[in-house]
């Protein structure tokens, strides 16, 4: 049977959305994901759509058990997500959603780094739109931070890919040798940034709660889980990931205690949950990898359900803080019930999906005889139930009555939540079908007596602790500073340091101004002249530009063999030139100052962007 790339439906299908409206549009929005589901479920393993490019193979369709299972869940999720968003009038959001889902599936089936990188970048830009689309000042600012962080991640990834290509001559996407080379680490950084591994995680908790109600549901599902997929594919058995993953499982839990914003609390729990998957990848045994993959599968569904539940509350009440919500179970009992199914699933209650997937990672830690990993992950499980299953629903739906009497959300939202809830229970009760599509053979039975009673004991006594310490856990109207502080406030600290001495010598300011102004003009003209004259500045400007604009030019460059060489050369030249500049900075020559002025200009621009 011939193969067809499912992303084609979504990516090209997105451009038909502006021309449709009303019922036709709604039917179209549901039909396309349904088509994608069908395409992926009918696929058989193999390698398809191979093209020759620069003497390298470009593979769009690498279909094996690993890519298929992610394909299944992404396609199911696209149908659920779009159903949840059906009432949205803003066609831009639907288009962004389609591009986002299409590129995520594109990453999943990519067989080489070029294809992967292109889809990776479409993903970043399409998802950023879902943040911008809320059109409030805070959302737009968060969207800019989101996109800048992802550009940084993309540059690391691209750098790694190019270095690897120079080193090995291969673009094939597969397990990477643990050679501790720069390429290894750059690709790893690019991937774990998208997996939201602290301290590279703040983009997630910063932007997701600012996205539109429906956009956040898509975001919760795709970016971090494609990152888990690429990590499983490329970095199984990377020891550092065990510890990063364990740390992030607890990190998210700690911040969730402090958080007052409903969706930001859930976002911190994405960090925590992805921690289990990253740990599984780090351990790298068949059981651990199965655990990571099945947990990603289950996680996409219950996390989306939780985001849909919290989103429905925000949509109907207009409030997002726990301190402003409470007592709405009276008028939103359906939303509450559906949310709780997600809550039980993420907490890994027996008969819910989290139980059959999370326990596989924890059991893998036991088999590997890693007592600390096992204990810390179990502790994080307790924290998961504490927040997502107890704190959030308690203060959102019960707690003190806020007097809000919001109605149930639109039917399409409830249907979408119902679909996710159905799967959460279905997978929990019948794990067989999920286990049969995992990449490796499963020798694991979650429903043993001691496992069930142990898990129940852990969960019920967490609940006891929660009710005993209810007073201490009361949400507070605060925000928590996190790693995003460095790019939100850090630039201001820099400015303060720069301003302080100037303010102290106020009397000299006029003089300094004259001195600098005249100097500046002189230097600028000198600089402009030297741009055309000096190879060094020229090289830097070109290289910096080609790296930062790499994303756009990259796509274009694919068609030109010679320029790719140029890009590689430029990249190498950048480092040679950079070394040259570092050496020359001692000579006092004007062109060197010009370089630092450029740098200063960059800092100033970022100050205005982030203030």
């Amino acid at each position: 049977m011939s193969w067809f790339h499912p992303s084609i439906f979504l990516i090209f299908g997105a451009f038909l959305i502006p021309f449709l409206s009303g019922r036709v549009l709604k039917a179209y929005l549901v039909m396309i994901p349904a088509l994608v589901i069908m395409t992926i479920f009918l696929m058989s393993p193999g390698t398809y759509w191979i093209y020759n490019f620069l003497g390298n193979e470009i593979i769009f369709g690498k279909v094996d058990k690993l890519s298929l299972i992610f394909g299944y869940v992404f396609s199911i999720m696209s149908l659920i997500g779009i159903t949840y968003a059906l009432h949205v009038e803003d066609k831009g959001q639907h288009m962004a959603g389609f591009l986002y889902m299409g590129s995520s599936i594109g990453v999943t089936f990519a067989g080489d780094y070029f294809t992967l990188f292109i889809f990776w970048e479409i993903m970043a830009f399409a998802s950023a739109y879902l943040v911008f689309a809320r059109r409030e000042k805070k959302a737009v600012e968060a969207g800019f931070r989101y996109i800048l962080v992802h550009i940084f991640g993309g540059v690391c990834l691209l750098g790694g890919i190019i270095l690897r290509y120079i080193g090995t001559g291969s673009l094939l996407f597969g397990p990477i040798e643990h050679d501790s080379s720069l390429a290894f680490y750059l690709i790893l950084i690019g991937f774990i940034l998208n997996a939201a591994v602290p301290p590279l995680h703040a983009w997630l908790t910063d932007a997701y709660p600012e996205a539109t109600v429906t956009g956040a549901v898509f975001m919760s599902a795709f970016t971090t889980k494609t990152a888990v997929y690429v990590l499983v594919r490329a970095f199984p058995g990377t020891e550092i990931l065990v510890w990063l993953g364990t740390m992030m499982a607890l990190y998210g839990v700690v911040y969730a205690v402090l958080e007052n914003d409903a969706r930001r609390l859930l976002a911190y729990h994405i960090v925590s949950q992805v921690g289990y998957m990253v740990t599984g990848v780090g351990m790298g045994t068949e059981m651990a990898l199965n655990g990571s993959v099945s947990h990603a599968f289950a996680h996409i569904l219950y996390k989306a359900l939780l985001f849909m539940g919290a989103g429905a509350v925000i949509h109907m009440t207009g409030k997002r803080k726990l301190t402003e919500l409470g007592g709405i179970y009276k008028t939103m009992p359906l939303t509450f019930t559906l949310y709780m199914i997600g809550g039980f699933a993420i907490s890994a209650f027996p008969l819910f999906s989290g139980f059959v997937s999370k326990s596989m990672v924890v059991a893998a830690a036991s088999h590997e005889h890693r007592p600390f990993v096992m204990l810390l992950l179990t502790m994080a499980s307790s924290g998961t139930f504490l927040h997502t299953g107890l704190k959030l629903p308690y203060y959102m739906f019960f707690g003190k009555d806020s007097g809000i009497r919001a109605k149930e959300p639109p039917t399409n939202m409830l249907i979408a939540m119902g679909m996710a809830a159905f799967l959460c229970i279905g997978i929990g009760v019948f794990p067989g079908p999920l286990y049969s599509v995992l990449p490796y053979e499963v020798h694991f039975d979650p429903y043993t007596g001691d496992h069930v009673t142990g898990a129940l004991g852990m969960l019920m006594f967490t609940a006891l602790g929660f009710f005993m310490l209810l007073k201490r856990l009361e949400p507070e109207p605060t925000i928590s500073i996190d790693a995003d502080w460095f790019y939100r406030k850090g630039s201001r600290v820099f400015m303060w340091v720069a301003n302080k001495p100037i303010a102290a010598y106020e009397g000299y300011i006029g003089e300094i101004y004259n001195l600098w102004f005249t100097n500046l003009t002189l230097k600028l003209s000198d600089f402009l002249w030297r741009v055309f004259d000096s190879r060094i500045i020229d090289g830097i400007v070109n290289s910096v530009a080609s790296i930062y604009l790499g994303i756009t030019s990259f796509v274009w460059r694919i068609f030109d063999v010679r320029v790719i060489d140029g890009l590689v050369n430029n990249f190498a030249e950048f480092w040679i030139d950079f070394g040259g500049v570092a050496r020359l900075s001692q000579t006092g020559r004007v062109r060197n100052y010009a370089f630092f002025m450029l740098l200063g200009g960059g800092i100033l621009i970022s100050y205005y962007l982030f203030r």
Binding site: V257, Y329, S366, H367, L456, F461, T462, L473, P477
Partner: protein, 85 residues
């Protein structure tokens, strides 16, 4: 069914009943943990009946106290307008 559910929760007396039920469940869970078959015990604590319950409770209390300590004493929690200032 939904209406019954809401009425049930609205009634203060039922809250007491629910609490009792909760305590009964706690006891049952601990009790049952003594009688299950433990075949794959990787660590010594896997053999202790009621270990899960104890560890869950300790974890929960630790998480709340340590996190709130970090939040308040560690200066992580800030005023809501912190970034706007």
């Amino acid at each position: 069914m939904i209406k019954r559910f809401i009425d049930f929760i609205d009634n203060a007396e039922n809250i007491k009943k629910t609490r009792k039920l909760f305590y009964i469940i706690l006891i049952l869970v601990i009790f049952s943990d003594f009688f299950v078959h433990r075949e794959h015990a990787a660590f010594f604590w896997d053999k202790i009946p009621g270990w899960g319950a104890l560890y869950g409770f300790i974890s929960c209390v630790l998480i709340i106290i340590v996190s709130k300590f970090i939040g308040h004493q560690g200066g992580v929690m800030k005023d809501e307008n912190y970034y706007d200032k």
